[in-house]
């Protein structure tokens, strides 16, 4: 699969130089199939979620707590899904447990060269909801539900949620 992916990348590079090219012309048909590249640079505001991403730079993981019903969110949201009221920020603990996990051997184009990688839903003590993150380090055979994990932060910040990741805590 990866070799097919490399060939595809080479073809794209060629198309970018010369414009649209014939991708294939199935034998015995008159169907013309061309390659047609397309890319976008979005101007994306994190808006009401901004504080979470800015806090990653300070090595802090921020969640939200409902001002009214006190429901605590492990992934921030501006308004409570239970009662609809506004939430406020609170600092999440940097240690938690694996609530569920997987190891991905295939994926989206953007992350294909990072495979295999572990995904984990992390639970924090006394927090009502979870946080999705990468679990770095352990091989598939060594990960289990209930495993203690702690947060670490990338040094070269990209202002993405993946600036934080988890590693085994013991």
């Amino acid at each position: 699969m990866v070799r097919k992916f490399d060939r595809f990348r080479d073809l794209i590079a060629e198309v970018k130089k010369s414009g649209a090219a014939i991708y294939n012309n199935p034998a015995g048909t008159e169907d013309l199939v061309v390659l047609s590249p397309y890319s976008i640079d979005y101007i994306h505001s994190y808006a009401q979620d901004s504080k979470f991403f800015m806090s990653l730079e300070e090595g802090k993981l921020m969640g939200s707590v409902c001002k009214k019903c006190k429901y605590k969110y492990g992934t921030p949201r501006s308004h409570c899904m239970e009662c609809g009221n506004e939430t406020e920020w609170f600092e999440l603990p940097l240690e938690g447990k694996v609530h569920s996990w997987t190891t991905c051997y295939f994926g989206s184009e953007e992350f294909l060269n990072e495979t295999p990688f572990n995904l984990a839903l992390v639970e924090f003590e006394d927090v009502d909801t979870l946080f999705l993150s990468r679990l770095m380090g352990p091989k598939m055979e060594d990960v289990f539900t209930g495993m203690k994990v702690r947060a670490e932060f990338r040094r070269d910040k990209r202002h993405l949620v993946s600036d934080v990741y988890f590693v085994p805590a013991e």
Partner: protein
């Protein structure tokens, strides 16, 4: 449910689902499915159609905004009322219910429901990226956005709740117990894969018919543990259409209209991480004490599916789905979600989905799967082969289920498939189930032969 008019399905059509249809773009695919449906009700003319509801999931795949408008145009239905319907993987099921509403409300007597997707327009890894954009792009996608990964997270917890904590409760070594539980689940999920791929052998519209053994499935490439290749649907090109009609006119066009007896829809949070841990919404036949120690839905079950089923059963007057339904076509994007869905639909209690498979309940009575099964045919699930083996051209998928259910209930599988192996004998009532995101929306519709 407030007062409404009865709505019937009078005809349907599907293209063959395929990895790619370089000879047809989305307009031509829908046109072919439409012509097939029109030929099945020869007295119906296009001018009799009052409105259309057209569904496709992704503008990224089409790279053509307002593609539904071009379908309307190609079918020659301008200048009539039409709109696009979209809600992720449940797009097709939502489109059927939108068509139902157009007629139930009294607005139209005949409504065309059409769905399509053209996923061959990018390579698989790019398609995975487009699909993963249907997860929170601030918090989920950048972590490694991949739907098979999300479903793996969900089934891992399902296995933990329902196999680790029961069958392997005695084992103290946590890692070892979880490994054994997952191995057990993988064996049972593989049985679902064998079933759906085998059923598809008799469905000429299917993309991936295969005779497999449990061992073949277990040996296929690991994609996201514990989901390997044969437990996951493929990307497809395809289109499907249904023609819906009011009680007043349905019998003018067919002797065998099929009644849409009940509709239901439920929703849940976009992010898996946000799912609450509360009480199970119960069917009439369940009791609170059945789930005394269960925190629900968490990431292990689909609350949206449960809510959709409760609404649809109530609407259709169903008190015992296992007795009152003849078959089910459900959204098996993964064999794991087929098992999770048995429980949401109340075919068994939460936690009993794996046993439901082992007993043989969702298999067809007359088909040889090469497996020892005790209770074969008790509740046939995905007789068509489901998404796993038919393919999953997202916007068409839910409508495809509706077309297959129509043909089952008309007793016309042989006419359309050229083979009656998949015909459920005396099929009276069928359930179709369409599912979006990680369970962010689910529709359930119940069709009945009249």
């Amino acid at each position: 449910m407030a007062k409404q008019r009865n709505v019937y399905v009078i005809s349907g059509g599907v293209t063959k689902f395929a990895k790619a249809h370089p000879d047809m773009d989305f307009r031509l695919m829908v046109k072919k499915a439409f012509d097939y449906a029109m030929n099945d009700v020869p007295s119906l003319e296009a001018k009799d159609i009052g409105s259309s509801r057209i569904s496709y999931f992704s503008d990224h795949f089409t790279r053509q905004i307002m593609a539904a408008s071009m379908v309307q145009d190609t079918l020659g239905l301008n200048p009539k009322d039409s709109r696009r319907v979209e809600w992720g993987g449940a797009t097709g099921g939502q489109c059927i219910q939108a068509g139902w509403e157009a007629i139930a409300s009294g607005r139209n007597d005949i409504c065309l429901v059409a769905g399509f997707e053209t996923m061959s327009r990018v390579e698989t890894w790019k398609g995975n990226e487009f699909i993963a954009l249907a997860s929170d792009t601030n918090f989920d996608y950048p972590v490694g956005g991949f739907y098979t990964g999300y479903y793996a997270l969900m089934v891992q917890r399902h296995i933990y709740e329902y196999i680790r904590k029961t069958k392997f409760a005695e084992i103290k070594d946590e890692k070892e117990a979880q490994k054994l539980a997952t191995r057990e689940a993988m064996r049972i999920m593989s049985m679902v894969s064998v079933k759906n791929h085998m059923n598809a052998m008799y469905n000429p519209y299917s993309q991936r018919p295969m005779k497999l053994t449990v061992d073949d499935v277990l040996k296929s490439d690991m994609v996201a543990y514990p989901l390997n290749r044969h437990n996951i649907c493929t990307m497809s090109d395809g289109a499907a259409v249904m023609i819906l009609a009011s009680e007043d006119v349905a019998r003018q066009y067919t002797e065998k209209p099929v009644l849409i007896k009940g509709v239901g829809c439920g929703t849940d949070t976009m992010r898996l991480a946000d799912r609450p841990y509360g009480a199970v919404p119960l069917f009439d036949w369940e009791r609170k004490k059945d789930y005394a120690n269960l925190r629900y839905p968490g990431v292990h079950s689909f609350r949206s599916g449960r809510i959709a089923a409760i609404e649809a059963y109530k609407h259709a007057g169903i008190k015992n789905p296992n007795k009152e339904l003849s078959f089910i076509e459900l959204h098996d994007a993964f064999t794991s979600s087929e098992i999770q869905t048995y429980e949401d639909l109340g075919l068994c209690k939460y936690g009993e989905g794996y046993d439901f498979v082992e007993r043989g309940s969702p298999f067809l009575a007359n088909i040889d799967y090469g497996l020892e099964l005790q209770n074969k045919g008790a509740m046939p699930v995905n007789p068509s082969g489901g998404l796993i083996a038919c393919g999953h051209p997202i916007g068409a998928t839910g409508v495809m289920q509706g077309v297959f259910a129509l043909w089952q209930l008309q007793g016309r599988i042989k006419k359309h498939f050229g083979d009656d192996s998949l015909q459920i004998k005396n099929a009276k009532r069928g359930l179709i189930h369409s599912h979006a995101g990680t369970g962010c929306a689910v529709t359930v519709s119940i069709l009945e032969a009249v």
